[in-house]
């Protein structure tokens, strides 16, 4: 099969699924819809695998397959093609998207079986995958932007899938609008880049980007990076635009798994990695990215500590993990960021699906305070969830350990990094371990707090199989990127496959050579922090369930602050959105109605009064009019003749 055909099938399989399911959107036949959607995903996944294997067989230095369909927009000097490229970076992405996507589709078949509109659900899901593939495959910024907005749209539709609930519809809207703010930044970034380089093609851009030079503020390139980062913030839920992601949990849980954990939210990271040469030219921006990423990781993790909604905890954890990724790209750890992106996709999707399974079993109950001791009722779920838990808190040899530690090492050691970033990262890792353990403890371990009328039961096979597969991936997914220091001591010296894979695709960053001791020390510190924190959490929630309350009472102010998510939503609404609406009303009433229109009326009133003052001339007497004519004629004649 030619590459073009592969691309076409890869992209069009979900599109066809979308169209067919979209046309029969009122059908309640979930089996047909599910099988259709899953097979579309399977086909896509197959294509992704074929494409990746073809890449593998190519020259490592020039690994990419490009296919251009048609000129999309051309005006003046601007020209954007609809073209697709798969290279080392996007290959990882499409594999994750289609692979994890397929599993989540499979899971959804069971999950959505009781819903009213399964066809619509699968249509949206397939459409999302299509857009996500556009995003990652697009060989220029504009095609990426299409996917970028398209996934936002699908996210909006899927978050608001149960739109009769006002809160859920509002959550969808919030997600879209917050994303829009980021998109606006993205657009500006595109403009700056186009202005600077005259092209929006990734390869050209990366080629044209100046070698790591220190550009000052105000340079278009720096501004471009800044604005692009704002776009990434919106999509990837970074401070200050992260607020939509926790609310996005209003959507169906598989959606959260696919969109809000595994794929869409990582688009920002992907975009920065895609443009790594450009970003490398703006170290200040990279510093900002790193700081924002670190801050997000820390704050989101801290919020996660006090959440009681199983999905909210996972959501904040996602935000936090995304913070790690940004920390990674901010310090130039592009490969580790991609690595973490991948492993995170595995274990976070796993955990979301697990939580979906729990919620399904608990009859749509999401509050972990009403769970506990589900280990017995849901053995498979519980087991796989545990794998995910181990992965996320970074216990070797689970996937999360390798990727996270790589990022932390870079943040400490790379020339773009700084020790304080590492410190924050470690604290965040500790918090992560704490709240994830708390989640495990409250949900699966300890005593059951399940209400009497609920009888949890294990989910059907279509839901557990994806869990198992993802569980396996969460364990072994990290083994393709074993750091050199660890690889050196392991039997058989496994190489860092991922680094080899991405070697020519990402910019190089200067790392201290021969600092293995340092690396081991740091690894040990972070691991021990996470471990201690996990043990503390276990101790607090399983052994001494009253301790958290005591602590909360003692530090009530702090607890209150964290419990209410630092009041960020309230500040946004109270300080920005509501004033804006009030101001708009004011504009409407005072400017439009009372100023412009009033002014118009004043003008017309002036004309009217002028008219009425001249009206006496118009007294209705014909002969007076005739006199005016006669006088006029006399005067005109005097001018002509006199």
């Amino acid at each position: 099969m030619s590459n073009e055909l592969l691309f076409a099938i890869l992209l069009q399989a979900p599109l066809v699924g979308f169209v067919i399911n979209g046309v029969r959107f009122q059908s309640k036949d979930y089996k047909f819809a599910g099988i259709l959607a899953c097979s579309a995903m399977a086909i896509s996944f197959a294509c992704s695998v074929i494409l990746s294997s073809r890449l593998l067989s190519m020259d490592p230095a020039n690994r990419h397959i490009t296919s251009t369909l048609f000129d999309w927009i051309s005006a003046g000097s601007f020209n954007a093609e609809v073209g697709f490229t798969v290279d080392a970076i996007s290959a990882i992405m499409i594999l994750v998207i289609t692979g994890v996507g397929f599993l989540i589709h499979l899971f959804s078949v069971g999950y959505i079986s009781h819903d009213e509109r399964p066809s619509k659900y699968f249509a949206y899901l397939n459409f999302f995958v299509f857009n996500m593939l556009l995003l990652v495959l697009g060989d220029n910024l504009l095609v990426m932007f299409v996917g970028w907005e398209g996934v936002g749209l699908c996210s909006y539709l899927l978050i608001g899938f149960w739109f009769t609930d006002r809160e859920k519809a509002a959550a969808g809207m919030k997600a879209f609008i917050t994303n829009r703010i980021g998109d606006a930044g993205f657009l500006l970034g595109i403009f700056f880049l186009f202005m600077e380089f005259g092209t929006v093609n990734f390869q050209d851009l990366n080629a044209l980007a100046p070698a790591a030079s220190l550009l000052s503020w105000g340079e278009p390139l720096v501004l471009a990076c800044l604005f692009l980062f704002i776009g990434a913030c919106g999509k990837s839920a970074q401070i200050p635009l992260y607020v939509w992601l926790p609310d996005a949990m209003a959507g169906p849980t598989p959606v959260s798994a696919l969109i809000h954990a595994a794929t869409m939210v990582t688009a920002g990271v992907y975009m920065i990695v895609r443009l790594n040469s450009v970003f490398m030219a703006a170290p200040d921006v990279m510093m900002i990215i790193a700081c924002v990423g670190a801050a997000t990781a820390l704050i989101a993790a801290s919020i996660g500590v006090c959440q009681n909604d199983i999905k909210k905890v996972l959501a904040y954890s996602t935000v936090s993990q995304l913070g790690y990724m940004f920390l990674g790209v901010g310090v130039g750890a592009f490969m580790p960021a991609m690595f973490h992106l991948m492993t995170h996709a595995f274990f976070k999707a796993l955990m979301f699906l697990g939580s979906g399974s729990v919620i399904h079993a608990m009859h749509e109950e999401q509050d972990i305070r009403k769970m506990g001791g589900l280990k017995k009722a849901l053995p498979i779920t519980s087991f796989t969830f545990t794998l995910g838990w181990l992965a996320i808190i970074g216990i070797p040899p689970f996937a999360g350990f390798f990727s996270k530690d790589e990022i932390l090492w870079y943040s400490f050691a790379s020339d773009r990094g700084a020790p304080f970033l590492w410190v924050i990262g470690v604290i965040a890792a500790g918090l992560t371990a704490f709240y994830m353990t708390r989640l495990m403890a409250l949900t699966f371990w300890g005593k059951s707090r399940v209400p009497a009328d609920v009888h949890p039961h294990e989910s059907p096979a279509t839901m557990t199989i994806p869990l198992i597969v993802l569980g396996v991936l969460s364990v072994v997914g990290g083994w393709i990127g074993i750091p050199h220091v660890i690889g050196a001591v392991l039997p058989g010296h496994p190489p860092n496959l991922l680094e080899g894979w991405l070697h020519y695709s990402v910019a190089k960053i200067t790392l201290p050579q021969d600092a293995h001791v340092m690396e081991w020390i740091l690894m040990g510190v972070s691991l021990s922090v996470a471990g201690l924190s996990a043990i503390f959490a276990y101790d607090s929630y399983v052994r001494n369930p009253d301790r958290p309350e005591r602590l909360a009472k003692r530090y009530s102010r702090l607890h209150n602050l964290v419990y209410n998510k630092y009041f960020v939503d309230e500040i946004y609404f109270g300080r920005i959105i509501n004033p804006l609406i009030e101001a708009s009303k004011g504009l409407w009433v005072y400017i439009d109605v009372n100023f412009i229109d009033k002014a118009t009326y004043q003008a017309s009133g002036f004309v009217k009064s002028l008219g009425s003052s001249v009206r006496t001339l118009q007294n209705g007497n014909l002969q007076t009019y005739a006199l005016y004519i006669a006088l006029g004629a006399a005067i005109a004649l005097s001018f002509i003749m006199g």
Partner: protein
């Protein structure tokens, strides 16, 4: 194929429709005529040569000999799509108003055809006086449309609409006359031919408001700005839209507003290059204010139609911004956005009209939970909403992207504000969608629980072409842009001394009718 036929054939339709015996016959014949006319328009599209920037299908007859006023029609890449858009919307309007117009059906279709004729005339006239004539004449049928078939406050709205636009055009007339005298001075013979106007050397003094070019520029610009409408001349628009019947709103938003932007593109920019360059910031500022202001005010509207009307202000602000960027990207985007706005806002008005026809309410607060009650309607509405807020793969994105790109290349700071408009557009539209379609069943949906609220096949037939066009224009914009590319590049390349040629040069104006003219 003759442009005169294209312009005046609707008058024949109007006459025939007028004589139809009953409403049914009026509707069917109008539909047939309008579809035929669309076909006829597409024949022009087929015969259009996109490789040249010259005027095509030119018809030129001396009209008033003494003043050099000509009956001069011509089509180029700038007017082509506006013509197609106008004629595309008319059959949809006829079909869309199938049941919503109940009184004086014949008269309604007559004014629709008259409006069509004048609109086409405006876009095709290449003589300033002829342009002015059509520009003004288009007010009359619109005035009747609002004034007779409009809502409760229709008289007020139609008067406001009429006087506002009339006020602006008077400045234009003055400027045209001034230009005609300039042609007499500079070119030897008085003429109101735009091609002659382009040859004028209009004195410009930077920084001085009273210099000739500046004054003339503002004379035209006020007329067009009111028509567009640009902030702060926009207040007629919400009133007119809210009071107009659905078809009136569609035409008004879809085509008539474009007369203003078309005027900018055809007259202001090429004719007054220095003034445009120098004073462009005024219009950019107004456009940006319009974008943000329109969006903000739209956000808090309690009435769906008014919301859409204010969104027009915002969208047209984008168009003006693109035009005043004065580069190929901006102009292309502006032109494209005119078409987009015609399609998507027209569709929005049609949609609002459809639901209004059933429930007789446009209050957003009366709705809620409409999506389960009217699923097909919801799908169309959301698609059009996406077009309106410029989601990629719909037409809106291409236009807004090019506009902002073009403006960015010329004037960066404005774009940074304009992108807020993109965000706010999403806000007001989605908020409205949320309040109308989502959430628990509202007052109206409860009332209509047992009855069918969804749209019928006729309405689907109205919306389907629009939806297809939304995606077509979004995915394959070059199918459309290729026709205009040459003209726009020509305009950009020669903006300091614009000129236009006639495709078949050597045809001198015929003086056959001058006797009557004198």
């Amino acid at each position: 194929m003759s442009l005169s036929v294209l312009i005046f054939l609707p008058l024949v339709y109007a006459l025939i429709v007028w004589m139809m015996p009953n409403d049914r016959a009026v509707r069917y014949s109008s539909l047939g005529f309008s579809i035929f006319h669309l076909g006829y328009t597409l024949a022009f599209l087929g015969g259009f040569d996109s490789a040249t920037a010259s005027l095509q299908f030119v018809e030129r007859v001396m009209w008033v000999k003494g003043a050099g006023i000509e009956y001069f029609l011509g089509m180029d890449g700038i007017s082509l799509w506006l013509i197609v858009l106008s004629n595309f919307l008319v059959p949809l309007i006829v079909l869309g108003s199938w049941t919503s117009i109940e009184k004086k059906v014949g008269g309604f279709h007559v004014s629709l055809f008259l409006l069509q004729s004048t609109m086409l005339g405006t876009f095709l006239a290449m003589d300033a006086i002829l342009f002015y004539t059509f520009f003004e004449a288009s007010l009359i049928p619109m005035y009747f449309m609002v004034g007779i078939w409009g809502g409760e406050n229709r008289i007020y709205a139609s008067m406001k609409f009429f006087i506002y636009t009339m006020f602006g055009s008077l400045f234009m007339l003055l400027s045209i006359i001034a230009l005609m005298f300039m042609t007499e001075d500079q070119l030897g013979a008085m003429s109101s031919n735009l091609l002659q106007f382009y040859k004028l050397q209009i004195p410009f003094v930077a920084g001085e408001f009273l210099s000739t070019q500046t004054l003339l520029f503002f004379g035209f610009a006020i007329a067009f700005a009111i028509k567009v409408p640009l902030f702060p001349f926009h207040t007629w628009l919400p009133d007119a839209h809210v009071q107009a019947p659905t078809p009136g709103s569609v035409i008004l938003a879809g085509v008539m507003l474009k007369m203003g932007t078309y005027g900018f593109m055809r007259i202001s920019l090429p004719l007054f290059p220095e003034a445009t360059q120098y004073w462009g910031w005024v219009f950019l500022v107004l456009a940006v204010i319009g974008i943000i202001y329109g969006a903000l005010v739209a956000m808090v509207q309690p009435d769906m139609k008014k919301l859409v009307a204010y969104s027009s202000v915002s969208h047209m602000g984008f168009v003006v911004m693109g035009l005043f960027a004065m580069n190929a990207e901006g102009l292309t985007g502006g032109l494209y956005q005119m078409l987009n706005h015609g399609v998507s806002t027209g569709a929005l008005f049609l949609l609002v009209g459809m639901i209004y026809e059933r429930t007789h309410s446009r209050k957003i607060e009366d709705y809620g939970g409409l999506a389960p009650a009217a699923p097909i309607f919801t799908i169309f509405f959301i698609i059009v909403t996406m077009s309106s807020i410029a989601v990629p793969m719909t037409n809106g994105f291409v236009g807004e992207f090019l506009i902002m790109l073009g403006t960015f290349l010329a004037y960066k700071p404005f774009v940074i504000f304009a992108v807020l408009g993109v965000v706010l557009a999403a806000t007001y539209m989605l908020w409205m969608v949320k309040r109308v379609f989502f959430g628990p069943a509202g007052k109206i949906v409860t009332e209509w629980k047992d009855k069918n609220l969804d749209i019928n096949p006729r309405e689907i037939a109205v919306l389907t072409p629009l939806t297809i066009l939304i995606f077509w224009m979004g995915i394959f914009p070059n199918h459309f842009l290729d026709f205009s590319k040459t003209s726009i590049d020509h305009l950009v390349k020669n903006k300091s001394q614009y000129f236009l040629t006639i495709e078949d040069a050597g045809k001198a104006p015929k003086g056959t009718y001058s006797q009557i003219g004198n």
